[in-house]
Amino acid sequence: MATESIEIASLPRTTTTAVRLRGAQLADRLVVGFFGLAAWLVLLVVAALFVTLAIAAWPAIKTVGWPALHSALWDPNNGKFGVLSFVFGTLVTSGIALLLAGPVGIGAALVLAEVAPKRLAGPVAMLIELLAAVPSVVFGIWGLFVLAPVMRGAIEPALARTLGFLPLFQGYFFGVGILTAGVLLAIMILPTIAAITRDIFEAVPAHQREGMLALGATKWEVLARAVIPYARSGIIGALVLALGRALGEAIAVAMVIGNKPAISASLFSPGYSLASVVANEFTEATGQQYLAVLVGIGSLLFVLSMLVNVAARLLVWSVGRSQSAARA
């Protein structure tokens, strides 16, 4: 700003340019003001959301409090509000989703951006973006009527046969449960990961690749040593965004997770998640405390998402630092 005003001051001053300049300054100020307001508004909305949630959840925090966080007993009509099984279900299903969709999404993006001919890459990329626009309730119905029977009939028996020695893959197959919810979430977040990482790969400057190629690197070496390291922080950003969607998904998860407030070692068994318990029980909740606890679960989800976001920021930051340290 300071340099600008000096430059302006040093310009020849005729009345018309002065008027024009004054107009330009006004426009400048308006634009800066508007964008500043927009930025503050976002912060204000987040803060207002948090404050409102905290006030509405306060009766629950006061009466139920911390013990709720390490109990899995959920029986609202008898005043038992243990939320541990919801936290468990949310984290495990989102974890499975990220584990499955991460590699596939990044792989798909790599192929689309770097390997596949443009004629093919364009339409496929468009299809992926289309998948991202499918409403979650549609995913839920598909999950219940198509995915769940396949999980019960084929995938879960196969897992039990091959990996059944692990407690993770034991027990009855119901088709609905933690694993099915994780797989459905993976499918839902796949387009987010693929579409964003593809854009990031395409934004890697051509000279990075050309430099490697000039040194005689193979295509694989170019990808592994020039493209992926350059895009690393962007990829982590895409994964965080996808994880956020998985953590907060309510309806689709409610339709396939089994809605049973229990913690079990087996991925086949039904569970529950923070978002889906709110979606299921909010409309029929009676009594101040019950409602307050459900709002409290909402705030817990809010805090959990924020913690995940902060952790991812720290990860990106430390990766960036170790990279620059390695370069130096």
């Binding site: 029986d75 769940a148 019960r152 119901f174 609905v176 339709m255 809605n259 029980e281 029929e284």
Partner: protein, 346 residues
């Protein structure tokens, strides 16, 4: 098939929208909210009422019983509807808000035990004890000797039993757990009666709404769950014949539900349970749905309209119940409801 049905349904909706009698500004606006169980019956009955009575606009929001009680207590609606009458705490809150509350039975329905057993035709027979033990998680496979003993000549598959229950708090769950508490002391002690409970069976899952429970049952061989009769009849779901107190195996129908309801003519908001009734061929899992009205009405003309509407709803309006697979209130219960409505003051 599905498509043509969808088309038919949407055509019906469009026709309904156009057939609505013209609203005029002078019409009395009556709003209600609550039970989704009542919604199909209310929309049919209110539509007919408006066709024959001018000067009234009725708007019912099917937001669930819990929401209905809240909206009613907050005085944002003229009447509320709930599948279970107000409990002591809810009554106290309502009385603090606007004085005494009148509660009248408006609809009678039943619940069926739906199951998914491929290759088993007809209706599987279940006794009260077996049903309770299935939901307690004590019977875990369909070919268990106790189930087979009730179904001689039926080849029951060796399938694990999966219990499907409501994930949302609901009057349907209240009526079902009320029944289980009446027939099993173990259930009463361990689980109890409530709109949502902690389900003891190890292999059990929750689903939202009747459609959710029905969907999971239809999807999963070996599943068993409870859904409203109207829902089961409209969607062609296989359901069990239940043994009543008399020892008869009874299928839910308009007739068997009415027989059960007639056993308790003195139904009231504090004595409303009609599950596990005695009597020949009475179906064991039924219940009333209730409307809530304020005894003290501020607006005189509105109060008259409201009273006329509900008087009609609990008497002549009951003739529309059968058309949407509900059961008309027995004559003696209609009289009880009418008497309660006479308490409205303005």
């Amino acid at each position: 098939m599905h498509r043509s049905r969808m088309l038919l349904i949407s055509a019906a909706f469009v026709a309904l929208a156009f057939a609505q009698p013209q609203a005029s500004r002078a019409d009395t606006q009556i709003t209600g909210a609550g039970s989704s169980f009542d919604f199909p019956f209310f929309s049919r009955a209110f539509y007919e009422y408006r066709r024959n009575h001018g000067g009234i606009q009725i708007n019912y929001q099917s937001i669930g019983s819990g929401g209905g009680i809240q909206q009613f207590t907050a005085k944002t609606v003229d009447f509320g509807a709930s599948d279970v009458p107000l409990n002591a705490a809810e009554t106290k809150a309502a009385q603090a808000a606007n004085g005494p509350v009148l509660q009248v039975p408006v609809a009678l329905g039943a619940e069926v035990i739906a199951y998914n057993l491929p290759d088993v035709s007809g209706h599987v027979r279940l006794s009260a004890g077996v049903l309770a033990d299935i939901f307690l998680g004590k019977l875990t496979t369909w070919d268990d000797a106790r189930i087979a003993g009730l179904n001689q000549g039926v080849h029951l598959p060796h399938l694990p039993i999966l219990v499907v229950h409501r994930a949302d708090s609901s009057g349907t769950t209240y009526i079902f757990t009320d029944y289980l508490s009446k027939v099993s002391s173990e259930w009463k002690q361990k689980v109890g009666t409530a709109k949502s409970v902690s389900w003891p069976a190890a292999s059990s899952i929750g689903a939202k709404g009747n459609e959710g429970v029905a969907g999971q049952v239809r999807n999963m061989p070996g599943a068993i769950g409870y859904v409203e009769l109207a829902y089961a009849l409209e969607n062609n779901i296989s359901y069990a014949a239940l043994q009543n107190r008399n020892g008869d195996f009874v299928l839910a129908s308009v007739d068997t539900v009415r027989r059960a309801a007639a056993q308790r003519p003195d139904v009231s908001p504090s004595n409303f349970s009609i599950v596990d009734m005695a009597g020949r061929d009475s179906y064991p899992i039924c219940g009333y749905s209730w409307a809530m009205l304020w005894q003290n009405q501020a607006d005189k003309s509105k109060s008259k309209q409201l009273m006329d509407l509900f008087r009609w709803l609990v008497t002549a309006g009951q003739s529309y119940a059968d058309q949407v697979h509900y059961v008309a209130l027995p004559a003696n219960v209609q009289a009880v409801a009418e008497k309660a409505l006479a308490g409205i003051r303005s």
